[in-house]
C-alpha cells in the first residue's frame, strides 16, 4: 500500500509518500500552478515517480478555500436572515483594528447588502417561536434570488441554535424555488452568538460551489489517470475528512497547510514522551506562525477570524501569526530609530541580495553579511553580497554603525520580536514557554530558532528532517476527525442531568455514525468530550474535558472542579465564589488510520559516516568564528556537533551558535540543546 500526502502551498506543491509500514519513502517539490492547482498535483506525483494506480490513499491540503476567501473570488451567495438583523455580518463588532489610524477601513462585507434578504420570523432564546415564519415572503425572496442567477444561499436566523425549524424550512423552500440550490444553514453549527454563526454559514455557502467544483474535478482527474484509492482532505482542526463530505464543510478546509505542519511536528516528537509540550513554529519570508501542541494535539480555538472581525465558529488549530520573516525590512523611523517590519520584501522584489531590484535591507541580507547564509542558497540562486551590503548601509550610516554591527543588530531585532510574540501567545493561553520544546519549520526558521529559544528560556530546539515537505508528511499521519458541537447553557448547580446526558449521547452518536459511514470499525474510533464552560456572568468560555460515561451529580461536581483548574491554567485565576455553567458541548471523534514505523522510515534520510566539513567565517556577537559547515544529508544518526556550526539543509540553514550542542535523534531530527548565554 502506498499513502501519499500532497500539500498545495502558495509557492510550492509538496508531496510525501510512504509504502506499507514505512519500507519506502518518496518526496517531491514542484512549483504551484496558480492557474489550475491540479496541474501541480499531477506534476508532483510524476516528480516522485509514482503511479496513481498503486496509491491507496491521498491526503490533500490546498489553499483553494483560503485563496477564494481572501481574494473574494467565490460566486457571491445570497443571505437570508431575521428581519432587523440584515446587517449583522457587515457591522461585525464595533471595535477597530488599529487604535490610532484615522484611515483604517473595515473589510468589505462577504455578501453585499443588496444580496442580504430579511424575512419575518422570530425565535426566542429558549427556542420558543415568537413570530411564525412568513413562508410566502420566503418564497418570493427565493424567486428574487433565482432571478438574480444566484444558486448558493446562506441562511442565518437569530437564536436558530436553540431551534432550527425556521432555518430548515427556509432551506426546503429555497430548494423548491431554486433548482440545484446549494444551501448552508447556520444551525448546522448550533453555537450561540449570531455573528460567528452567520459568518460561518456565509463562508460555507460561498465556498460550496468553489470546493465542490475543485474536489470533483480533482477526483475525476485522478480517477481518469488510474487512481482507485481514497481521497481525503486536510481540515483546519488537525484532522482530515473524506473528500465526499469535504465540500459540505468547506469552512473547515481553510488554513490546512499549517495543520499539516502541526501533525508532522506531533508525529516526529512523539518519542520524547516526557509530557513536555511543543511550540510548533514556521518562519518564512513574511510571517512567523506558532501553534502550541500538548499531548500530541495542537491547541484549538473556536473564534478564529478569517479577516479582521470576521470570526467563524469552527474549531481550528490556534495558530498565531506575526509579521516577522526573512523578508522583513529594516528602516529608520521619524524619530531616528531603527525598526524592523512589519513590511516585507516578500517574493517580489525579495531581499536585496536576491538581485531582483530590492534595495531595502532585510533580515536575509543581514544573515548573508554575517556569513550565516550560504551564498548560493544551496546552488539555487547566486546571492549578491554587495547588494546586501549597500542595502544594510542605508540604515547603518544614519545610525553611525558599521555595516556588520548593523546586520547583527537587524537579526537581533528580528529574534527579539519573535520571542516577544511567542511569550504573549503563551501568556494568552496561560502557558510558560519554558515547559515546551521548540520545533522549527520554514525557510527562515532554523536560522533563528536557537537564538529565539535562548531568549524565551526554551532548552531544546528540534529541526525535523524533510522539513520542506512537512505539511505533506503531516497529512499522511492524520486521523479522520469530526467535532460535533451544540449549545447547552445551564449552570452546573441544578443542571438537568437527563437533558445533559441526552445531548451528549446525541453528539456521540452523530460523530460515531459519521466515522462508521466512513468505514471505521469500533476499535478504530476514539471519542473525547469537551464542554465550553464559564462562570455565570462571564462571556467567554474555557474548554473543559468531560468523562465519556453518563454524568451523575457527583460527576458534574467533578467537572466543575476540573473547570476551575482549566480556568486557572488558561487565565491564571479561578473562583470559588462564582457558580460554573455549561455553555457548549462538543464530541470529538477520530478514526485511526495506519501509521508507518517512523524510525525505519526516516533512517533512510540520514547517512552514515563522517561529514566532509568545509568552514566559513560567521559573526557572532561581533566576533568572527571560523564555523564548520555540514550538509545535512551527510550527517549520520550518531552525529554530535558543537556550536558554532551550520547545518545546510535543502530548504533551510540550521544555525548553531557558540555554546549550543547538537545530536541527531533516531528519526533524524536535529536536536539542539541550548547552552547558557552570556
Amino acid at each position: 500500500m502506498l499513502r501519499v500526502g500532497i500539500d498545495v502551498g502558495g509557492t510550492f506543491t509538496d508531496l510525501f509518500a510512504w509504502r506499507a509500514g514505512g519500507a519506502e519513502l518518496r518526496t517531491a517539490k514542484v512549483m504551484t500552478t496558480p492557474n489550475d492547482l491540479i496541474d501541480g498535483v499531477l506534476e508532483a506525483v510524476e516528480a516522485a515517480d509514482l503511479e496513481l494506480g498503486e496509491i491507496e490513499t491521498i491526503v490533500h491540503g490546498s489553499t483553494t478555500a483560503t485563496n477564494a476567501l481572501i481574494e473574494r473570488t467565490y460566486p457571491e451567495p445570497a443571505f437570508i436572515t431575521t428581519e432587523g438583523f440584515r446587517d449583522t455580518i457587515e457591522m461585525g463588532r464595533p471595535h477597530r483594528e488599529h487604535l490610532y489610524d484615522p484611515y483604517q477601513q473595515r473589510p468589505a462585507p462577504l455578501v453585499r447588502r443588496t444580496n442580504r434578504y430579511p424575512v419575518r420570523e422570530k425565535i426566542r432564546a429558549d427556542g420558543s417561536i415568537r413570530t411564525s415564519l412568513d413562508e410566502e415572503q420566503v418564497r418570493s425572496v427565493a424567486r428574487r434570488i433565482a432571478e438574480s442567477g444566484t444558486r448558493n444561499v446562506a441562511v442565518g436566523l437569530i437564536n436558530s441554535y436553540a431551534n432550527s425549524a425556521h432555518e430548515r424550512r427556509i432551506g426546503e423552500l429555497v430548494r423548491e424555488e431554486i433548482p440545484g440550490a446549494l444551501v448552508a444553514l447556520s444551525s448546522d453549527n448550533p453555537k450561540f452568538r449570531e455573528l460567528p454563526r452567520f459568518v460561518t454559514a456565509v463562508v460555507r455557502a460561498a465556498l460550496l460551489p468553489v470546493m465542490g467544483e475543485y474536489l470533483e474535478r480533482l477526483e475525476a482527474t485522478l480517477r481518469g489517470r488510474g487512481f482507485e484509492g481514497s481521497l481525503f482532505v486536510i481540515k483546519s482542526n488537525g484532522g482530515m475528512i473524506h473528500s465526499s463530505g469535504a465540500r459540505e464543510c468547506a469552512e473547515e478546509l481553510i488554513e490546512s497547510g499549517p495543520a499539516g505542519g502541526v501533525a508532522a511536528a506531533a508525529a516526529l516528537c512523539e518519542h520524547f514522551r516526557d509530557g513536555k509540550g511543543l511550540l510548533c513554529t514556521d518562519m518564512g519570508g513574511t510571517s512567523f506562525d506558532v501553534c502550541l501542541i500538548e499531548d500530541g494535539q495542537g491547541l484549538v480555538r473556536d473564534d478564529y477570524e478569517i479577516d479582521w472581525d470576521l470570526p467563524i465558529v469552527t474549531p481550528m488549530l490556534d495558530i498565531r501569526s506575526v509579521g516577522a520573516g526573512g523578508g522583513s525590512i529594516a528602516w529608520i523611523d521619524g524619530g531616528g530609530s531603527i525598526r524592523l517590519g512589519p513590511r516585507s520584501a516578500g517574493a517580489d522584489p525579495g531581499p536585496a541580495c536576491y538581485g531582483r531590484g530590492g534595495t531595502e535591507p532585510t533580515v536575509t541580507d543581514a544573515n548573508l553579511l554575517l556569513g550565516r547564509l550560504e551564498p548560493t542558497l544551496g546552488g539555487k540562486l547566486r546571492l549578491d553580497p554587495d547588494a546586501a551590503e549597500r542595502a544594510v548601509a542605508t540604515v547603518a550610516e544614519p545610525l553611525g554603525l558599521a555595516v556588520a554591527a548593523c546586520a547583527e543588530g537587524i537579526v537581533r531585532l528580528c529574534v527579539e520580536q519573535v520571542a516577544a510574540a511567542m511569550k504573549l501567545v503563551s501568556v494568552d493561553r496561560g502557558r510558560d514557554p519554558r515547559d515546551y520544546r521548540l520545533v522549527s519549520f520554514g525557510g527562515a526558521g532554523p536560522m533563528h530558532a536557537a537564538e529565539i529559544a535562548a531568549l524565551i528560556g526554551v532548552e531544546t530546539v528540534i529541526v525535523p528532517p524533510l522539513a520542506g515537505v512537512a505539511s505533506a508528511f503531516g497529512g499522511t499521519m492524520m486521523d479522520v476527525r469530526y467535532d460535533i458541537e451544540t449549545t447547552f447553557y445551564m449552570p452546573c448547580e441544578g443542571v438537568d442531568l437527563l437533558a445533559l446526558n441526552e445531548r451528549l449521547a446525541a453528539l456521540d452518536a452523530e460523530g460515531v455514525g459519521r466515522l462508521e459511514a466512513d468505514g471505521f470499525a469500533a476499535e478504530e474510533i476514539t471519542l473525547t468530550r469537551t464542554a465550553g464552560m464559564r462562570y455565570v456572568g462571564q462571556s467567554y468560555e474555557v474548554d473543559t474535558p468531560l468523562p465519556a460515561e453518563e454524568l451523575d451529580a457527583d460527576a458534574v461536581r467533578t467537572v466543575a472542579e476540573e473547570f476551575n483548574a482549566c480556568h486557572l491554567r488558561e487565565h491564571g485565576v479561578a473562583s470559588e465564589e462564582f457558580p460554573a455553567a455549561f455553555v457548549n458541548l462538543r464530541a470529538s471523534v477520530s478514526g485511526a488510520v495506519p501509521k508507518p514505523e517512523l524510525a525505519g522510515l526516516f533512517a533512510q534520510t540520514a547517512a552514515i559516516g563522517a561529514p566532509s566539513g568545509t568552514t566559513r567565517e560567521v559573526l557572532f556577537g561581533g566576533i568572527a568564528h571560523e564555523t564548520p559547515i555540514y550538509q545535512r544529508r551527510e550527517l549520520g544518526l550518531d552525529a554530535r556537533l558543537e556550536g558554532p556550526a551550520i547545518i545546510q539543509d535543502v530548504d533551510a540553514t540550521v544555525l548553531i551558535p557558540p555554546g549550543d550542542r547538537v545530536v541527531l535523534d533516531s528519526l533524524g531530527n536535529v536536536v539542539i540543546s541550548i547552552g547558557r548565554r552570556r
Binding site: N159, F192, L401, E416, G430
Partner: protein, 590 residues
C-alpha cells in the same frame, strides 16, 4: 534634547522591551479579570513611568487614558513622597479630584526598585463595574459627585507586600457587585507584578543605569517624532467649537471653544471661552480634558510613536479653571470620559480641518451612547444590570468613506451579541442594523450609525448619557452632518414615541435619561448618528451614490436632495440628465 549615547540596536531592543512590558500587563489584566467591562469592553490601560512619574510607555487599550494616567502617579507621589514609598507597596486611587477622572476608573501604582533604588513605576487603570453611588455603575445624574460612588484618595492598598484587607472590605461593602471586587483587584495587581517583573528583567540584563537612560531617550524619541509631525502642520491659529446637548438639567447646550495654535514644532490648545462648570454629570476634570486633546491629536501626530511624555512636551494645553472642562469639587464628573472627551476630540479635529484639510477626517458620531438598564426579574433577586454602547459612524476621510458603526476614538470596546444578551436577560433584541441615510453627506460619506431596538419582558429603568440629539456630527470641507440621534419608546402596540431628542413637532426632550421607566413589553429604540461627511457631496462620484442607493445605505430621495444625483431605480442606473440639472439646482440654492 539629550544627545544619543546608547547604541541604536540596544535602544530599539529596550524600547520594544518596555512596549512589551506594557502589552504584557494588559494581557494579564484582561485574562485574569472577572468583570465583563474589563474583559469584554477592554476598558483599561497600563503604563510604565520613570522615577519622576513621567510616562515612558503605555499600552493604551483605551485612548481616553492616554494623557491622564500620569496624574495618578503624580498624585500618589505627592501623597506619600518618594521617601514614603517602599518595595512591595501599591497605591490605589479613583478620586477625580486627586489623580483620577471619573469614579469607576480605578488606578493602581507600583513603585519598582532595583538594587535598592527606585527605577520606575508601573500603573494600571481599569473601569470597575460598580463602586456604589446613586445609580448602578455610578450612573446617577446628580449635581454632587457624592452620588457617583466611593471616592478613594491615594491609599496604600498593599504595604510592604501586605494587602490592606480593611480597605478591600470597605470597597466590597460599597459595591453592588462585591463578587467582582477581589477578582479585579487581583487582576490589576497581577498586571503590576508582570510589569515589575519585565522591568527587573531588563534592568538585570542591561543594568539599571542603561534602563533609566533608555527611559529618558524613549521620551526624547517620541518628542522628536511629535515635533516632526507638528512641523508638517502649517503655522497658524485654528478655532473650533462643539457642545454637549445638555448636562441633564439645562435646556441649553453646554459649549466648549478652543483655539489651536501651531508655531513651528510647537502646538498649543486654549479653551478660553468655554462654558462654566455644569450642574450635571458631564464635567471633565483637567486630567480627562488634557487626555482627550492628546488622543485626538495622536491620530494625526505620529500615531506609531510610543505613547509617552515626549508627546506632551511640545504641546501646551490651557483650560481656564471653573469651566466644565476644568471643574473642582463637588462638580459631578461621571460623564467625562464618555461624553465630554468625544466633544473635545470632535472640536480638535474640526480645528485641524482648517490646518490640514487634505489629511483630516471628519468628526465621528462623537458619543459613547452608554446606557445602563436595571431589569426586574421575578426569578432573580435584585434583578439584572444590562448595559451597552450602541455605536455610530466615523467621519468621511480624504480617501474613502468613513467606517460604519465603529466604537468612538476614546475607547475600543466590542459589544454584547444579541443572542448573548437574550440568553442572560429577560429582553429581546428586535432590531440591530444600519441606519440608512445616517452618514453625513460628503464627497466621501460619513459611516452609518445604527438602529437598536430592545424589548423588555419585565419592568425596566434605563439611564443613558447621550448627546448629538439636536444635530448630527458636522462634516468638514463642505461635508455635512447626518441626522441627529434619537431615543424612543416603542409601545406594545408598536407605536413609537420620542423620549429624548427631537420630536416630530420640533420640540427637544432632554437626552440624559435618568432611570426612565419601561413597562413589560415596551421597547427602547435608539437611533445613532453617522460620521460627518468629508468634502462637498455634489462632488461625490455618481457611481458611488448609485452603489449606495442600490445597497440601501442612502435613499433615492437623499441621493437627489443631498448629492444631486437622480437614480433610475427600475433600471438600477444613474439618470445622467436629471443629475446634471439637480446638481445645478442644489448649487444655485446655496
Amino acid at each position: 534634547m539629550t544627545p544619543r549615547t546608547l547604541d541604536p540596536i540596544t535602544f530599539e531592543v529596550l524600547r520594544s522591551g518596555l512596549e512589551y512590558a506594557c502589552e504584557r500587563m494588559g494581557r494579564v489584566l484582561q485574562r485574569a479579570s472577572f468583570s465583563p467591562i474589563i474583559y469584554d469592553m477592554v476598558d483599561f490601560s497600563n503604563g510604565i513611568f520613570d522615577a519622576d512619574g513621567e510616562l515612558v510607555g503605555q499600552a493604551a487599550n483605551c485612548p481616553v487614558h492616554l494623557g491622564a494616567m500620569h496624574y495618578s502617579v503624580r498624585a500618589s507621589l505627592e501623597r506619600f513622597g518618594a521617601d514614603g514609598l517602599h518595595p512591595g507597596d501599591v497605591v490605589i486611587l479613583n478620586d477625580p479630584y486627586r489623580g483620577g477622572t471619573h469614579t469607576p476608573d480605578v488606578t493602581m501604582t507600583l513603585p519598582a526598585y532595583a538594587g535598592g533604588e527606585l527605577i520606575a513605576f508601573a500603573a494600571s487603570r481599569a473601569h470597575w463595574t460598580d463602586l456604589g453611588g446613586g445609580g448602578a455603575g455610578g450612573q446617577a445624574f446628580s449635581t454632587h459627585i457624592a452620588a457617583e460612588g466611593l471616592r478613594l484618595p491615594p491609599l496604600k492598598l498593599v504595604e510592604a507586600g501586605e494587602l490592606n484587607s480593611d480597605l478591600v472590605d470597605i470597597i466590597r461593602n460599597q459595591s453592588r457587585v462585591p463578587q467582582y471586587v477581589d477578582g479585579d483587584i487581583n487582576a490589576q495587581l497581577g498586571a503590576l507584578n508582570a510589569g515589575e517583573a519585565e522591568l527587573l528583567r531588563l534592568a538585570d540584563r542591561y543594568g539599571h543605569a542603561t534602563l533609566r537612560q533608555v527611559m529618558r531617550e524613549v521620551i526624547d524619541y517620541t518628542e522628536r517624532m511629535t515635533r516632526a509631525a507638528i512641523r508638517r502642520i502649517p503655522d497658524g491659529e485654528y478655532e473650533a467649537e462643539d457642545y454637549a446637548d445638555t448636562d441633564g438639567f439645562s435646556e441649553e447646550p453646554v459649549r466648549l471653544r478652543l483655539k489651536l495654535t501651531v508655531d513651528g514644532d510647537e502646538l498649543s490648545v486654549d479653551f478660553a471661552g468655554t462654558d462654566p462648570v455644569a450642574d450635571g454629570a458631564i464635567n471633565s476634570p483637567e486630567a480627562n480634558t488634557v487626555s482627550a486633546v492628546y488622543y485626538s491629536l495622536k491620530f494625526f501626530l505620529s500615531p506609531d510613536a510610543p505613547a509617552n511624555a515626549g508627546m506632551y512636551r511640545p504641546i501646551t494645553i490651557s483650560i481656564p479653571e471653573g469651566t466644565w472642562l476644568n471643574p473642582s469639587w463637588p462638580a459631578p464628573t461621571i460623564g467625562c470620559t464618555v461624553l465630554a472627551a468625544p466633544k473635545v476630540c470632535a472640536a480638535v479635529w474640526q480645528a485641524l480641518a482648517h490646518a490640514i484639510p487634505d489629511r483630516i477626517i471628519a468628526p465621528t458620531y462623537a458619543e459613547d451612547n452608554w446606557f445602563v438598564a436595571s431589569l426586574a426579574d421575578p426569578e432573580v433577586k435584585g434583578g439584572h444590570v444590562f448595559s451597552d454602547l450602541p455605536p455610530g459612524g466615523w467621519g468621511g476621510t480624504p480617501f474613502h468613506d468613513g467606517m460604519n458603526v465603529t466604537e468612538e476614538p476614546n475607547g475600543n470596546c466590542t459589544n454584547l451579541p444579541a443572542e448573548t444578551a437574550e440568553l442572560l436577560f429577560p429582553i429581546e433584541y428586535e432590531r440591530y442594523e444600519l441606519r440608512p441615510d445616517s452618514g453625513g453627506p460628503g464627497r466621501f460619506r460619513g459611516g452609518l450609525g445604527s438602529v437598536l431596538q430592545v424589548r423588555f419582558d419585565e419592568r425596566a429603568e434605563l439611564s443613558m448619557e447621550c448627546s448629538r440629539t439636536r444635530a448630527g456630527s458636522p462634516g468638514v470641507g463642505g461635508g455635512r452632518a447626518g441626522p441627529p440621534q434619537r431615543q424612543s419608546k416603542v409601545g406594545r402596540d408598536g407605536r413609537r414615541a420620542t423620549i429624548g431628542g427631537l420630536t416630530e413637532d420640533g420640540r427637544w426632550l432632554n437626552c440624559l435619561l435618568s432611570n426612565h421607566p419601561f413597562a413589560p413589553g415596551e421597547a427602547f429604540l435608539f437611533e445613532s448618528t453617522g460620521g460627518g461627511g468629508w468634502g462637498d457631496p455634489l462632488e461625490r462620484d455618481p457611481q458611488a451614490v448609485l452603489s449606495d442607493v442600490l445597497d440601501g445605505y442612502v435613499s433615492a430621495e437623499a441621493a437627489r436632495a443631498e448629492y444631486g444625483v437622480g437614480i433610475d431605480l427600475e433600471r438600477g442606473e444613474i439618470d445622467e440628465e436629471a443629475t446634471g440639472a439637480l446638481r445645478a439646482t442644489v448649487r444655485a440654492k446655496r
